[in-house]
């Protein structure tokens, strides 16, 4: 089950931000362990874990009392949180490693904030399909739409993301 740790982390980071993702990741796996003995009939364990991660992310937002959509502002808390984490990691390293980690962290923060700007359906389709690797039919199950709509949202979302990122690269000095 822990083999799916990376996929779950990607979903958690996308849904609650890098800083809070660790807590939600742990809650997801504890909930999965709790349900595990009764989960024998589950055909796709990864999609099942992603669903739990989605639910735990929603719980997290409910607890925090804020909207689950970190969109609208390119300088969203997501990006800030990411850079802070990368900075901490970098500070613990040294020399060139610091520079590399900081740059990698900034790149990641830029992509996260671009993802956050996508319309919700597209954003979730990109996260579930392109980032977590679920099939379009499974994404449709999570989004409550059709497989065709999920496929379109994933494709449109990735295209919009590409435009966003190209635009930002041009802005940079």
């Amino acid at each position: 089950m822990a083999a799916h740790g990376t996929v779950v982390l990607r979903v958690c980071r996308a849904l609650v931000g890098v800083q809070d993702a660790d807590d939600v990741w742990q809650e997801t796996f504890l909930a999965a362990l709790r349900a595990y003995p009764e989960s024998g009939g589950i055909r796709n364990r990864e999609a099942w874990l992603v669903t739990i991660a989605r639910n735990k992310s929603m719980d997290h937002h409910r607890r925090a009392g804020r909207l689950p959509v970190p969109s609208g502002d390119p300088q969203a808390p997501l990006a800030v949180a990411w850079t802070a984490t990368a900075g901490a990691v970098a500070a613990a390293a040294g020399g060139d490693d610091v520079v590399r980690a900081l740059e990698a962290g900034e790149d990641a923060a830029m992509v996260w904030s671009a993802v956050a700007l996508l319309p919700e359906k597209q954003r979730l389709a990109v996260v579930y399909h392109h980032l977590a690797g679920l099939r379009h039919a499974e994404v449709a199950g999570l989004l409550g739409n059709s497989e065709a709509a999920a496929r379109r949202a994933a494709a449109d979302g990735l295209k919009a993301l590409r435009v966003q990122l190209l635009g930002r690269e041009r802005e940079q000095p």
Binding site: A3, F29, L33, D107, V111, L131
Partner: protein, 206 residues
């Protein structure tokens, strides 16, 4: 695995630190799961003079010791079926077993005082296992002699089976059971392992 599928290039920067993050989260999970009462079987793998040993324990005690030739993955899969699928690598839960085995291989320990969970051996097999610690360190007994200790003194072959299926080798000393003609007999850890253990126990004490 799907996770290893190549990400679209736009999303690649997001993967920058996730290996480290997942490793850290995985390392912390067993303790959190144990605190929540969600780990039914904890395991770890230790090195030993007879190869890598898988140690698995339940709330009751040590439930399985497995040699690498048994296939650790197969043993874990069997534990998932017979005990519980809630199995996690949680090394600290098996510190005592690892320490006592280390002392045993160093010649500093002659008997184990670990809590044991015998749920993987029932009926006559369990009865046989209960008698094996009566064969003292450095001594051996024949399959027939062990049978004579049980409620079925003529069940010599069944004693052989019980030893061959011992879920707790080393700790429950089936390696001290040999053939009536004095030859070593088979061992689930392999003949070399049995020879090594008998030689270790026969060596002059430090």
């Amino acid at each position: 695995m799907i996770a290893n599928r190549v990400l679209p290039s736009e999303l690649l920067p997001l993967a920058v630190d996730e290996d480290g993050a997942v490793a850290r989260l995985r390392a912390a999970l067993p303790a959190a799961a144990a605190a929540a009462g969600l780990v039914d079987v904890a395991y770890r793998v230790v090195d030993s003079p007879v190869g890598q040993l898988l140690l698995a324990g339940t709330e009751v005690g040590l439930v399985r010791v497995a040699f690498s030739r048994e296939g650790h993955d197969a043993v874990l899969a069997a534990l998932a079926t017979t005990v519980s699928p809630r199995i996690l690598r949680a090394p600290s839960r098996l510190d005592a077993a690892a320490r006592e085995l280390d002392e045993y291989f160093g010649g500093r320990r002659h008997s184990f005082d670990l809590p044991l969970d015998f749920r993987l051996a029932n009926g006559f097999r369990r009865e046989v296992l209960a008698h094996l610690p009566e064969i003292g360190y450095g001594h051996t007994a024949s399959y027939a002699a062990v049978a004579a200790l049980t409620s079925s003194p003529r069940a010599v072959r069944a004693v052989g089976t019980a030893c061959a299926r011992n879920p707790l080798p080393l700790v429950v000393p089936c390696h001290r059971v040999i053939r009536s003609d004095g030859s070593q007999g088979a061992y689930l850890g392999g003949p070399d392992a049995k020879a090594l253990l008998l030689a270790l126990e026969a060596a002059p004490q430090p």
